[in-house]
Structure formats: structure tokens, C-alpha cells
């Protein structure tokens, strides 16, 4: 028998259980979850906090045949005897495993700022992190200050503003997502947030909190009935560390998602593979799919997942592929699009016709298509501009409505046709064309173009002209 015990009942644990059943896992399947809440969509929490989603609609469907213990905290792992010890309502329970999976996720950080923390390290009353339904239930009405310029802060502020209360987003960088997007895009993001009712305060951090008030590094004091901390998360490795497993920033796993103990696996926010941690919800799902195949004896290995950061809120629709450093790698071509009127922005780095990095804002069609092409490692379309701007299909340059007889020498207004006539009349070199038509004798800027035309006519390969320099051919 292969009895599987999963520690944690978050999205990764839930998906794994569901996939194990799907792949025909018949032996025992136990989930031990600290939260009293049945498994739910953690990514939808901001909408629950804002009151736009009711609690039951967050819940994930129960997995048939899985034994789920809610409100159950695992306190120790006995690797030798293959048991885990847990507490529920103060009563210890013991669970035997053949295979153990750690899906303990990540814990939100509580900054060490006077007034934010309780002596025990948790958030003080009137202060909350945003990771669980219980966190959301801690929010009062009244004014809200969200701390943190990362995606979670942006989503939280944007969702909470929908409640109609004053919401202020305080971020350490000059604008939200400062480490991910440049000032132009950051400016648009800020404009969208402000339009949605969020006051954005950049280049500021909290220095002190007193009940109802938050003092900032720039000297201002904000009214803050609730302070929402979105200041980052840390993979929860405590159990693994205590059990003597290899731990870095996360619990170290190999490409079969195995920890340093072959009968213990880890996945989701608590795991570290190939140096990568905190790979987000779709990464957690992919790992769960892979691990379910592995545990049911199917061939599967885990690979690095392309890192796509997605912020989808009422105010902002943003996607980041790769890291900012990827834009400057040698051999990459870049396309940058700025639409200040409609607040659209795109920056895409391309190598060998594949996207290597991107920042996309306010271009939903392109976000979907480019994300899909990136995940499946496929080539970008030739008309990337059309994709980014959502333009209708347009003809290529050789058939577009270009002027039939373009001016080649601007100083002396000599058109292509006139040059061609002179060429047919015997002016077969650039100097001959120059004395016959005056082309190139002004600023000289058209010298190269005239030389090209001359060469192409000389070779009698008009088709080549059409192909390489469409606008110059009539």
C-alpha cells in the first residue's frame, strides 16, 4: 500500500489530492490543514475581503475519498517511523505515511515596525496580513492603508477601493511594482489605481503605528483603521528544517519533487527547485500535476516553470514575463509601445523570434497570446505590433497604399521614376545620375538609396528591389 499524507490544505495540496484520485490512487489519502476553512481559492481572497465574493463561492470542490482534517496543526515528523504528529483542539493525533508531501505554503512577513506587531510577532489588532480568510475577517470598516508595492498590495488596494472606503497604497519604490516595471508603466499603473479610488504614495515606508494612525518615513501621518500588510511572504520550512531535511530559501526538491528524504516530497510555495521559490499558483498547479503522475507510477519530471507574474485587478491588468535583466541580454531585440492616451504599455524582448521577457499593461489580448506562446515555447507572430495594439490584419508593405513614386532626393526633389528614366537614358552610375538629375548633390543623405537603386537596375533584378526595398520600387 502507498498511503499518502499531505501536510497543508492549500491550493497545492488540494490540486495534488484531486490529481491523485484522477490518476487512480486507491490507497489512503489524508490532508492535514491548519486552517479551519475547507480548501479555497487563495488568489480570490482580495475579492472576499472587499465583499464582492461570498465565502462559500471561494471554496474548492471536495475531493472524493480524501480524508481532510481541518484545524489540524502538524507539529513534528518522525521520519524513522514514518509518522507525523498533529494537534486538533489541543488533542494530539498521529498519522502514519508511506509517502509524505509537504505543502505548507508560505507565511506573510510582518515588518518590524513599532506598533505593527504583537509581542508574539503576529500582527497587532487593527493590523492584518492577507493570506487567509481569517485575515480578511480581521479587517474593520473605515480607512484602509495597504503596505507594499508588490502585486499583492496592488490587488488588495484595488479590490478594497471597490468597497468605497478610503484606501491608500504605500509602497517603498517610486511607484508600485518598482522592481518589475519602468517609470512609464509604473506611472500608468498609478494613474489607473488612482482612477479606481486608491491614493498611491510612492517612495514611502511605515515608521510607526498607533491605533487608528500610521506614520510614514516622509513625515506624513495617515488615518488607518485597518493596516493591511502585503510586504512579502517566506516559504514555510519550519517542519522540514526540524525534521532535518535539506532546506534553502525553501525545501529543496529534485526534478521528481523529492526532498532529501526519498519518501518525503514537497511542492508549492514551500518548495525550492533549481534555485526557484514562490512560483505562484500556476507553478503550484503544475507541480501538483507532475507529482500526482510520479506518485501513481507514471513517467514525469518537473522542469523550471517560466515565471509569469500576473496582476489582474479592477484597476490594472498587467503581466511580467522573465526578469528585468532579461531585457538587456545580448542578441535580444526589443519592442516598446507607449500609449499615454489609453494607458497601454508593452515592452517585449525577443530572441530568435521567441519572447524572452515582457512587461505588458492594459493589453489583455496580447497578455493572453504572448503568455500562451511563451509557456508553450512557440514563435511570436511576424506582426508583433498588430498583436500588441490589437490592430486588424493589414497588408504588407509591398501592397500597402504607399505612394507609387516616392521622392528619393529630398533636397532636389528627385523621384524614383525620374531616376529610373535617367538610368534608362544612359546614366548608369551614381555620378552620372547625380549630374543628370541632381540627386545626391544636396545634403547627400540619399546617396546610399541611389546607389542601391542603381545597382539593382544594373543587375536587371527589379524583383529584388521589390523584395528588399519595397517602398523604392514603383
Amino acid at each position: 500500500m502507498n498511503d499518502v499524507v499531505i501536510i497543508g490544505n492549500g491550493p497545492a495540496a488540494h490540486r495534488l489530492a484531486e490529481r491523485l484520485r484522477h490518476h487512480g490512487h486507491e490507497a489512503g489519502l489524508t490532508l492535514l490543514g491548519e486552517e479551519p476553512e475547507p480548501a479555497y481559492h487563495r488568489t480570490l481572497l482580495p475579492h472576499y475581503a472587499a465583499g464582492s465574493l461570498a465565502r462559500p463561492s471561494l471554496h474548492l470542490p471536495p475531493v472524493p475519498g480524501a480524508r481532510v482534517h481541518l484545524g489540524t496543526v502538524v507539529t513534528a515528523i518522525d521520519r524513522e517511523r514514518q509518522r507525523v504528529y498533529a494537534y486538533r483542539h489541543g488533542i494530539e493525533t498521529v498519522h502514519r505515511y508511506d509517502t509524505l508531501v509537504l505543502a505548507t505554503g508560505a507565511r506573510p512577513d510582518v515588518p518590524d515596525v513599532p506598533g505593527l506587531r504583537e509581542p508574539g510577532g503576529g500582527p497587532a489588532p487593527g493590523v492584518t496580513t492577507l493570506r487567509t480568510t481569517a485575515d480578511c475577517d480581521r479587517m474593520n470598516g473605515g480607512s484602509v492603508v495597504v503596505l507594499g508595492g508588490e502585486p499583492l498590495g496592488v490587488e488588495a488596494a484595488s479590490a478594497l477601493a471597490a468597497r468605497g472606503n478610503g484606501v491608500t497604497l504605500v509602497c517603498p519604490g517610486a511607484h508600485p511594482l518598482h522592481d518589475r516595471v519602468d517609470d512609464v508603466c509604473g506611472g500608468m499603473l498609478t494613474a489607473r489605481l488612482e482612477a479606481a479610488g486608491v491614493t498611491v504614495l510612492g517612495a514611502a515606508t511605515a515608521v510607526r503605528r498607533t491605533p487608528g494612525h500610521l506614520e510614514l518615513s516622509d513625515g506624513t501621518t495617515l488615518s488607518a483603521d485597518t493596516v493591511v500588510l502585503c510586504a512579502g511572504v517566506t516559504p514555510d520550512t519550519r517542519l522540514a528544517r526540524a525534521a532535518g531535511l535539506d532546506v534553502g530559501a525553501g525545501i529543496v526538491v529534485d526534478d521528481r519533487l523529492r526532498t532529501s528524504d526519498p519518501s518525503i516530497h514537497a511542492l508549492g510555495d514551500c518548495a525550492q527547485f533549481d534555485g526557484q521559490t514562490l512560483i505562484g499558483i500556476s507553478g503550484a498547479h503544475e507541480q501538483a500535476d507532475t507529482l500526482a503522475r510520479i506518485l501513481t507510477g507514471r513517467p514525469a519530471v518537473h522542469r523550471r516553470v517560466p515565471r509569469i507574474l500576473r496582476v489582474r485587478s479592477r484597476a490594472a491588468d498587467l503581466s511580467c514575463i522573465g526578469s528585468p535583466a532579461d531585457f538587456d541580454r545580448p542578441g535580444t531585440r526589443q519592442i516598446t509601445l507607449t500609449d499615454r492616451t489609453r494607458l497601454r504599455y508593452a515592452r517585449v524582448a525577443v530572441r530568435d523570434e521567441h519572447v524572452t521577457a515582457a512587461v505588458l499593461f492594459g493589453v489583455p489580448q496580447a497578455i493572453a497570446t504572448i503568455g500562451m506562446l511563451h509557456r508553450s515555447d512557440r514563435r511570436l507572430p511576424g506582426d508583433l505590433l498588430g498583436l500588441l495594439l490589437d490592430l486588424p490584419p493589414r497588408p504588407a508593405s509591398d501592397s500597402a497604399g504607399a505612394s507609387a513614386d516616392p521622392v528619393v532626393c529630398l533636397c532636389n526633389h528627385v523621384t524614383r521614376q525620374r531616376l529610373h528614366r535617367a538610368w534608362q537614358d544612359g546614366a548608369r552610375t551614381v555620378p552620372a545620375l547625380a549630374s543628370g538629375t541632381r540627386a545626391t548633390t544636396g545634403c547627400g543623405g540619399c546617396g546610399q538609396a541611389v546607389e542601391e537603386l542603381c545597382g539593382q537596375w544594373a543587375r536587371g533584378t527589379r524583383d529584388l528591389v521589390e523584395e528588399t526595398c519595397p517602398a523604392l520600387s514603383s
Binding site: 519592442i335 507607449t338 500609449d339 499615454r340 493589414r394 500597402a400
Partner: protein, 404 residues
């Protein structure tokens, strides 16, 4: 009896005007008196820098023997016009001659602008516009020694390259944060910066010049920048812009444009039907044009009007400009700045090797213009698409040489 046209200034545009008039004037209705301040006949000022790079004066002179020997031409070198009277229709020269005219064309060009920083008139300070200027720079240049060019526009880069060709270590000081601020945006300038620093130019950007410093004998020792940096220099070249040469507006009692220059209509006419202005000295409906192409269009227009032909009004928008700076192509086509209506900006670039920006209309997406730098497609290939939606292969037109 032919009528007399007096042209003041034998520069690129004045010469083109005379040449076109003579060519079009098949009935010999006109004779042309040209008063030239410089000792040489009109020469290719655009190509002036090549005078320090192997070319001689005769290579660059625009007026050929046909022109100089034409009996209808009376070219007076080193003979500036100093006075004029519109009521008697005469021009007075520095030699003391009084020349009557039936038509007068002002083609006096521009003078370099020298900012009034302390020390700007020390021995060792130069400007960059004429053969004489270049002869003086050549005489002062000392290989291996540093020289400073003040101004990072088109002329400043030409001057810096000239110092480089003379073996000097060239520095360029520009107040704006990047080179060629009038034509380029920061992205296109980055391509240029990379290339010219590779060629050895040292750039001091975003800083003004506080003073030109000297040795006790008064000659130049260096330049102090706005941020306090001292740059050693034996030679300082001012290339900080040009101003139209409109001194004669006062003696002729003619109006000046708001920013200087002889005020003329879109057909290059002053308020006096006998007096015209062309080239850089003309303020056409309030705007002066500092490149040769618009000047040539003005010359053509006036030549035709003098022969009674009808002409289209002068169109100051240039579909494209192409410049080659120390081996880097930079070009613009159509509009290059965002208007009030907020164009969409699309930039295609490859490291510091090439850069192409296209502006698109906010509503319909039509191409409004763009800026190119480095190994990009030719602006001629793009100009035909002005006002149309970008073709599907726009990127290939902008950055050719990669698989479609």
C-alpha cells in the same frame, strides 16, 4: 535691357537661386550681381568637414566654370553689402560701390551663436562655419592634446569629429541630457553615444559651460563645467546654435521674425515686392529653417517667381531628414514629437546598435512619423507610409536584415 537682380550672400542657397534663375531664364531677362562676403565662391557647407579630411577648396566649390564665366553673372568676392536703400533701390558695398537693383534677394545665412560665458573670446576659441574657421582651427590644433566642443548638436559633432581628424582628443559639452536634442529622443541618442564614445569622443552631458579658462598670456587652458569639472583644452570650438544674419533688416527698414530673420511670406516675399529672402536668413511665416533642403526649395520658388511663374506656397515640413554623424545614420520622417493628442509610440531596438521609433495616431493608428538611428531601414522606405496604417511587416522595414 535685362533687369538686375542683386543677391546678397553667395552661400549654398544664394548660389542655387542664381544658378536656377540663369537656367530657367531662356530669354536673358535678368543679369545677376552677387555680393559675397567670403573670399571664395559658394561652396558645399554641408560637406565642410571633409575639408579637414582630404578634400581641397576646389573639390568643395559649387560654382563651376560655366557659372563663373557666364556673362550674365557679376560675382564680387570679399565684397559684403553694408548699406541699402529701398526707395532708390540700391545696395552699397564695403568697397563703396552703389549697385541699383530691380530685385533684391537676401541670402545671408546664419552666424554661429557664441554664448556669453566668461572667457568666450580668448585666443584658442573658434566657431565652425567657413573655410576660414577651419583653417584657423587646423593651425591651432595640436595632435594628442585635448580640445573641447561646446554644443552637442549636428554642428558640434561635426566639429568634434574635425578635432579628432586633426589628432586631438575631443570632448563635447551638451546642456541637454543627450546629444542632438533638437532631432533625437533619448533612445536614438543612446545609439549615437555608444558609437561616438567608441570612436574616442568624451561626452559631458546635462551640464552647462561655466567659463572658458586661460593661461596668464590670455590663451585658452580649459573649460569649467556647470558641475565644477575642469576639462583641459588647447582649443575650444563653439557650436551652440546659429542665429539668422539679419543685420540688413535695420538699414532696409524691413520687419524681422519673432526669433530673428527677415520676415517673409510663404512665397519668400518681404513687405517690399522687390525684396525677397531665402535660406537660413529667411523667417518664413515666423520660422527659420537650418537645413539646406528647405533653403533649396525657397531658391527654386523665388527663381520661378522672378520669371513670372506661378508657384506653390513654401511647405516647411520635411518628409524626411537624413544625417550621417561620424558614420552613424540618424534620420527622421514626418512628425517626431508627440502632439497634444498623444500619439502612440512604438520603439523597435537592438541593444545600442539600432533604434527605430514610430509615432502612430491615437485613434486610427496611422503612421505620423519617426526617428531612426544606427543600421535601420532607410527613411525613404518609410516616408511613403506616412498617413497610412503601419504595414504588417513594419518591423522588417525598420530593422531589416532578420528573418521575416
Amino acid at each position: 535691357m535685362p533687369r538686375t537682380l542683386v543677391v546678397i550672400g553667395h552661400g549654398m542657397v544664394g548660389h542655387r537661386l542664381a544658378e536656377r534663375l540663369l537656367a530657367l531664364d531662356t530669354e536673358a531677362a535678368w543679369r545677376v550681381v552677387i555680393l559675397a562676403e567670403e573670399p571664395d565662391p559658394a561652396y558645399d557647407r554641408v560637406g565642410l568637414s571633409s575639408y579637414l579630411d582630404g578634400k581641397s577648396k576646389p573639390d568643395l566649390i559649387l560654382a563651376g566654370p560655366d557659372f563663373l564665366n557666364d556673362p550674365r553673372v557679376d560675382l564680387r568676392l570679399s565684397c559684403p553689402a553694408v548699406a541699402a536703400d529701398r526707395t532708390t533701390r540700391t545696395v552699397g558695398t564695403a568697397d563703396g560701390d552703389l549697385i541699383p537693383y530691380d530685385a533684391l534677394v537676401l541670402a545671408t545665412g546664419s552666424r554661429p551663436f557664441v554664448p556669453p560665458v566668461p572667457g568666450h573670446d580668448r585666443a584658442g576659441c573658434f566657431v565652425y562655419r567657413t573655410f576660414d574657421d577651419l583653417d584657423a582651427i587646423r593651425a591651432a590644433a595640436r595632435p594628442g592634446r585635448p580640445g573641447v566642443v561646446i554644443g552637442g548638436g549636428l554642428l558640434g559633432l561635426e566639429a568634434a569629429n574635425a578635432l579628432r581628424l586633426l589628432g586631438m582628443r575631443a570632448h563635447v559639452v551638451e546642456t541637454a541630457p543627450h546629444l542632438m536634442p533638437a532631432q533625437l529622443d533619448p533612445g536614438a541618442a543612446r545609439v549615437l553615444h555608444h558609437h561616438v564614445t567608441d570612436l574616442g569622443l568624451r561626452l559631458h552631458l546635462g551640464t552647462a559651460t561655466a567659463s572658458v579658462d586661460g593661461y596668464p598670456d590670455g590663451s585658452v587652458s580649459g573649460v569649467t563645467l556647470g558641475d565644477g569639472t575642469v576639462v583641459e583644452a588647447d582649443v575650444v570650438v563653439f557650436a551652440a546654435g546659429i542665429r539668422p544674419r539679419d543685420e540688413l533688416a535695420t538699414v532696409l527698414a524691413l520687419e524681422r521674425g519673432e526669433r530673428g530673420g527677415f520676415a517673409v511670406s510663404d512665397r519668400c516675399r518681404t513687405a517690399d515686392p522687390h525684396v525677397w529672402a531665402v535660406g537660413e536668413c529667411a523667417s518664413v511665416e515666423g520660422r527659420c529653417h537650418g537645413l539646406v533642403a528647405p533653403g533649396y526649395r525657397m531658391a527654386e520658388s523665388v527663381a520661378r517667381q522672378l520669371l513670372g511663374q506661378k508657384v506653390e506656397p513654401f511647405d516647411g515640413t520635411d518628409p524626411t531628414t537624413t544625417l550621417k554623424l561620424m558614420g552613424v545614420n540618424v534620420a527622421t520622417f514626418g512628425a517626431t514629437r508627440h502632439g497634444e493628442d498623444g500619439a502612440v509610440e512604438a520603439v523597435f531596438s537592438e541593444g545600442t546598435a539600432r533604434y527605430a521609433k514610430v509615432l502612430l495616431g491615437p485613434d486610427t493608428g496611422e503612421i505620423l512619423g519617426g526617428i531612426l538611428a544606427g543600421h535601420t531601414g532607410s527613411p525613404m522606405a518609410l516616408a511613403p507610409f506616412l498617413g497610412t496604417r503601419p504595414p504588417a511587416d513594419l518591423e522588417r522595414l525598420l530593422l531589416p536584415g532578420r528573418p521575416a
